[in-house]
């Protein structure tokens, strides 16, 4: 049919060759980013980890329309905790955003979102930046990078570990 048109390469918005579009937004028929990866360990690259071929890098960035940095907004690091804002009307979001919003019903860190959805941190950072900008999620104002936790926080951590 119009496969050739779909393959023309219209930047990020083009679906993977041969895949049909179903609406105004290109949708991948299966959320390949959500397929799970087993349980690699940090003891070194397991299958699929390491110097990934460019193809597997480019695909996750189609979710961000090629952006590698979030829009301006609060700093989003690995342990930034986010939570869905209340009083927001539910609106149509792309599947990746929907998946993040589901996880954010309870406070959750950026790293956990990344791990649970199997989306690289950098990509989650961009997508969350969009949701923060739209007012869909809130983050705890993070302390400046250089500032270490206060003593009362350290003491609470110490007590908490002892209680384990």
């Amino acid at each position: 049919m119009n496969t050739s048109e779909e393959q023309r390469g219209t930047g990020w918005t083009g679906p993977a060759p041969g895949r049909p579009t179903t609406g105004p937004f290109p949708r991948r028929p299966a959320p390949s980013w959500n397929r799970g990866r087993g349980h690699p360990t940090s003891e070194g690259p397991s299958a699929g980890v390491g110097d990934a071929p460019a193809g597997s890098l480019v695909r996750p960035y189609t979710m961000t329309r090629g952006r590698t940095r979030p829009p301006t907004g609060p700093r989003l690091d690995m342990i930034t905790i986010v939570v869905a804002a209340r009083d927001r009307e539910e609106r149509a979001l792309e599947p990746e955003y929907q998946a993040i919003m589901r996880l954010c019903r309870r406070p959750i860190s950026l790293a956990e979102i990344s791990a649970r959805l199997d989306i690289p941190l950098t990509v989650v950072r961009v997508l969350l930046g969009d949701l923060v900008a739209a007012g869909d999620v809130r983050t705890r104002a993070s302390a400046p990078v250089t500032r270490l936790p206060e003593k009362k926080v350290l003491q609470a951590v110490l007590d908490g570990i002892r209680r384990l």
């Binding site: 360990t41 690995m78 342990i79 003593k151 951590v157």
Partner: protein, 198 residues
């Protein structure tokens, strides 16, 4: 419709997160230690870096760039309703060093897991935390077949100052890992005492 189950949450209820880095050479037992104390099965996330690191605004022509993907394992300990502690295993291999700066930012402290069979594999970690001023403890992970070294032998081999605590540990043992964490946080609190700001 907004989901009803979230309606009774006070708006300020976003916990504060703190993190501890667990570093050490390949196979030193980082993930084992994290598993021993984490309340969740350790999760794995990944970071993708291009050759030009964060200096890249878009990935046009990314095929031309060198990319590296690194997996990070981490665990979680909910300290109380307001504080969550994350334990991140730092990638052990040299080519993943780009992650360390980000990991070290704002970290409460670090645990350097030493494997006495391959003590040199944690030299880099010790260097890094000393240079960055990140407080750390050395935990000597005792493997069944490992030779028993005393603390001072390890201290000498690693060339670390007398203030840095060295603890003997078994990464598979929860109580032992708790002791390592207690040692670290105590060390952090003590180090902060002279010039307390909070």
């Amino acid at each position: 419709m907004a989901s009803a189950d979230s309606e009774n949450r006070p708006p300020e209820a976003i916990p504060q997160a703190v993190k501890i880095i667990v570093a050490g050479g390949f196979g030193a037992g980082k993930t084992t230690l994290v598993s021993s104390v984490s309340e969740i099965t350790p999760l794995s996330t990944e970071e993708v870096m291009t050759e030009a690191s964060y200096g890249v605004d878009d990935l046009g022509g990314v095929e031309e760039k060198t990319t590296t993907t690194v997996a990070l394992d981490f665990g979680r300990i909910t300290i109380n309703p307001d504080i969550v502690l994350y334990l991140f295993g730092a990638p052990g291999q040299d080519r993943f060093w780009f992650m360390w700066d980000e990991l070290a930012e704002g970290a409460l402290g670090a645990i350097v897991l030493a494997d006495t069979r391959r003590l040199h594999t944690c030299f880099h970690a010790v260097d890094f935390f000393e240079r960055r001023g990140v407080p750390f403890v050395v935990a000597v992970n005792r493997f069944d077949a490992s030779a028993d070294y005393c603390r001072e032998e390890v201290r000498e081999a690693l060339d670390i100052s007398g203030e840095v605590p060295i603890v003997m540990a078994d990464a598979r043992d929860r109580e032992s890992c708790k002791e390592v964490l207690v040692e670290l946080v105590t060390h952090v609190i003590q180090g902060r005492s002279p010039a307390m700001s909070g």
